[in-house]
Amino acid sequence: MQYLEGRKYVVQAIFLAVALVFATRLFYIQVLDGSYKLAADRNTLQRIVQTPYRGLIYDRKGQILVQNTPVYDLMVVPREVKQLDTLRFSQLLQLPLEEVREGLQQARKFSRVKASPLVQNLSTQELAAIQDNLIDFPGFSVKARMARSYNTHTMAHALGYVGSITPKLLERPQYSKYQPGEFLGITGLESYYEDQLMGRRGVQYRMVNVRGIEKGAFRDGEYDTLSVAGQDLHLSLDSELQAYAEKLMAGKRGSVVALDPKTGEILAFVSAPMFDPEMLSGKGMGNRYMELLNNPEQPLFNRPLMATYPPGSTFKLINELVALQAGVVTPNTPFACNFKLVRCTHRHEPPSNVGIAIKQSCNPYFYQVMRATVLRGRSSNRFEDARLGLGEWRRQVMKFGLGEKLGVDMGQEKKGLIPSPEFYDKHNGYHRWTYRTVYSLSIGQGELGITGLQMANVMATIANRGWYYTPHFVRGIGSGGPLPEYQVKHTVGVEAQHFDAILPGMVSVVDGNGGTGNNASLADVGISVAGKTGTVQNPHGDDHATFAAFAPAQDPQIAIVVFIENAGFGGNSAAPLAALVIEKHLRGKIAPWRHRWEEWLPGPADRFIKRRRY
């Protein structure tokens, strides 16, 4: 035995113990724990997403409305920027010095080695101006991208706009496929048909090194996919009719919705005030958006879908139809124009049948029509009787697509309000209200809330004598038809004969002697228009003018609702405006003697208020 030879075992044990610890630890991280493999892939695999070519948008007549044009983003890789002459650079870009500095700071914050956009949406001309000089500025490069460009200055609300995705949206699961900075439809059709317009992204996997520099395809592109271009949209909107309606609505607040009653296709969709769709694309879009947002006239507010008003006298038609279907009145039922019940609009001949009542828009008549519908002695308790009656009335009214979303192919749509018995229970107390409380509903005032689109759909339903297709903007996607939900016929549970009963009254509103809607008459060109005027009481200011119509009365091809805020009596402004749009659509031209209307109608609404009429 050598000196202390036994200690060699201790030393060997120490060696082996460390080896054992290493072996165990290595077995754990290399074999058992899979997370390191994932982390390695995250390190080296870069997913390059190819954004497909976005689908185009065409109008009813095949005219192209929205297309793609190349724009250029000036990208910067902060690490590669060498001795930047910020002053000269900002002069070259024609940007304020501060903005350039701030942009560079942002880019640096994002990443020192990855490219981030410094200036977005440069046009080809703007690019040409700077491109040659760019060589003097290392670290800057230009990236081409497709952006929306517009072939029209109208229908901004319907088309919507495209913008880069917000961080907030990115967090939602349905946007998980989007990348930061990627563009998507924000509003309107661009948003509703995002999936179809977007197409399918192509994905390529690339290997990158630690500096993010590409090192070739991953497994020779085994997992790569090609992008598929988005589908085109074919709108039912007629850009010529749209432009015409927008011209007439200039200077006002309000909406125009025109439908093809036979198909539910939307022919014109005006939300006034309008703006040019071009405003929400290209360089400086953010600033222009803020301008629109802060405009007190609220041009971004999509009025036909989002503004709910009491419909005014146009609603009397629905009340009459409900009463006829319920069998509580006949077309020939007379009611007295009894001012004790409710004030009438004006002095007129006695409403001895429904035709005269509609023509004169007699308030007491329709007060009594709805009372007959609601109070039918279902209960000996008069409060309960009103509750039950109103409930049944509401169920029938809602079949017209009121009080709930119609399901148009656009987000933002509002439900409106058809008040329920529970609504009044809550406000007045259970069994604390009777018909007398709710009678405003009979003349389309009070708590009712209806959108322009819903009212237009009601007119289409009347034109069709009892059915409608859900209004929609898109009649064709790619080479196919509209979405299946727009090919389903909805009936409203009122028999066709009852529609026939109110039709003569609606025609006489326009063409009858002393009708409230005489201004909408197109009888001189052989078109019979069936319509109804409305004046919406507005506690905040001048009354709103409305006119709802369809034409030709015998074979309706267009149903239209015009709504002009603070324009007073509906017959003065809304009726002639609707008539012009109808004539334009049916004849393609305007009779010469109505050209003065064309001159006179555009402009502010207050000119239409001559005197107050009820």
Binding site: V11, A19, V210
Partner: protein, 432 residues
């Protein structure tokens, strides 16, 4: 080996030589993989001049290996007695070199520890290891191991501590830490195991103090003291002041850790320890090396991604991948099996060195052998430990694997001096 000078009365230990060549060969393959760039076309290499080839680490490593082989021949030609005789002289020379190096060296990576002789850069600290090993072996051979005086121990401590102190002064803490390895050799030569135990206990307490709330430790150690006293009251009642003293020292350490941590350690050293405790802290900053190193090794799986197929290695995610982090390439491209082979090679070499050391008849030879084993073991421990997150990041190479002339020559010298001494060992028993 017949052609060796006559003073070698035995054959050189071929097992060790074989293990050495295997490790250097495997090491070179990994250096090649680590410095291999998928962009550079291989067929263009033949057209490159020597100077251009010298831009590649793998090519330089061939040169270093070639010169190391020359070095081996030189080491074997020298009379092994010279190592014994010249030990102190070399030691003195080395001390002088260590002192003047910081003054004449250019700063490289934050430390003035590299001497430049034309194209060759040398780190005197690398060579301090084997020279110190020779000097302490010589010293131990000259004293009575069984009856060491306090003065002997003091001189030994001085011999061992002087180089690391000078190396720390040159800001190469990693290289200085290696001198702790000598403790293992001293243990073999008779150092009280208590010292090792106290050091181990101290390390455990320090680590606990960093990981566990201080109050728990205070309560824990107090309970431990009470249990110990209660269980062995008969014996320990005579040692109550001492028991309390130990307890006080332990508690003092627990609460002194913060002071040491915040006031004694340098910033980067503190961070390296923090990373060890919490690897996910600052993964893109200080933790980058460790995180990426673990990702590279961990993604290797059981059998690895294959030679030159390591994505983390190839695409430069691991820093220092051909030098200090060469084990990442092993782990990534050869997997757990490759890691086991590497660890096996080290165990084989260490075991063989232990065997060779034990068969020395002289205290000088045996002590030197254990010094060699301990130094290699320490490098192995810390280097692989840091790549898998078990040891703090200390910049010391993996012997025979890491790229670099200095370290390869230094380990070659360390090992082959032992083999020369071994081949010339005498049959008869010396005093020991």
């Amino acid at each position: 080996m017949n052609s060796l000078p006559a003073r070698y009365n035995r054959s050189i230990d071929w097992v060790t030589v074989l293990l050495y060549l295997l490790m250097v060969g495997v090491g070179w393959l990994n250096v090649y993989a680590a410095s291999y760039s998928p962009d550079a076309p291989d067929n263009a290499l033949s057209s490159l001049s020597f100077g251009q080839l010298m831009n590649f680490n793998w090519f330089k490593q061939i040169v270093w290996i070639g010169t190391a082989l020359v070095l081996i021949v030189v080491l074997l030609v020298i009379d092994p007695k010279a190592y014994d005789t010249l030990a102190y002289g070399l030691y003195g020379l080395m001390i002088v070199l260590l002192i003047i190096t910081p003054f004449i060296a250019r700063p490289i990576a934050g430390s003035r520890s590299w001497l430049e002789l034309g194209p060759v850069r040398l780190q005197p600290a690398e060579f301090a290891k084997f020279i110190t090993a020779l000097a302490v072996s010589r010293y131990l051979a000259g004293i009575n191991l069984r009856q060491q005086s306090f003065r002997d121990q003091l001189v030994l401590a001085g011999l061992t501590l002087l180089p690391p102190v000078l190396i720390i002064a040159a800001n190469e803490t990693g290289q200085a830490l290696v001198f702790a390895a000598f403790l293992l050799a001293y243990f073999r030569e008779g150092m009280s195991p208590i010292i090792l135990l106290i050091l181990a206990a101290g390390a455990v307490i320090l680590i606990l103090a960093l990981l566990v709330p201080k109050l728990w430790l205070l309560v824990g150690f107090t309970v431990l003291l009470i249990i110990a006293l209660a269980a062995n009251w008969r014996t320990l009642r005579h040692y109550i002041p001492m028991s309390l003293g130990v307890w006080a020292v332990v508690i003092g350490m627990v609460f002194g850790v913060d002071f040491f941590f915040n006031n004694v350690l340098q910033d980067h050293q503190r961070k390296r320890i923090e990373i060890l405790i919490n690897p996910s802290a600052d993964p893109l900053g200080v933790g980058w090396n460790v995180t990426q190193s673990k990702i590279a090794i961990g993604s290797g799986g059981l059998a690895g991604k294959g030679f030159l197929q390591g994505t983390q290695t190839k695409f430069d995610f691991v820093p220092e991948q051909s030098t200090d982090f060469i084990f990442c390439t092993v782990g990534e491209e050869w997997g757990w099996l490759g890691s086991m082979v590497t660890i096996g090679l080290f165990m084989g070499l260490l075991g063989r060195i232990g065997y060779v050391a034990e068969r020395q008849k002289s205290v000088f030879g045996r002590t030197y052998g254990y010094c060699v084993a301990s130094i290699i073991f320490f490098h192995f421990c810390i280097n692989i430990g840091m790549t898998i997150g078990l040891a703090p990041v200390v910049g010391i190479p993996l012997p025979f694997f890491s790229y670099g002339g200095s370290s390869l020559w230094s380990f070659t010298t360390l090992l082959f001096i032992l083999l020369a001494i071994d081949a010339a060992r005498k049959q008869d028993l010396e005093r020991y």
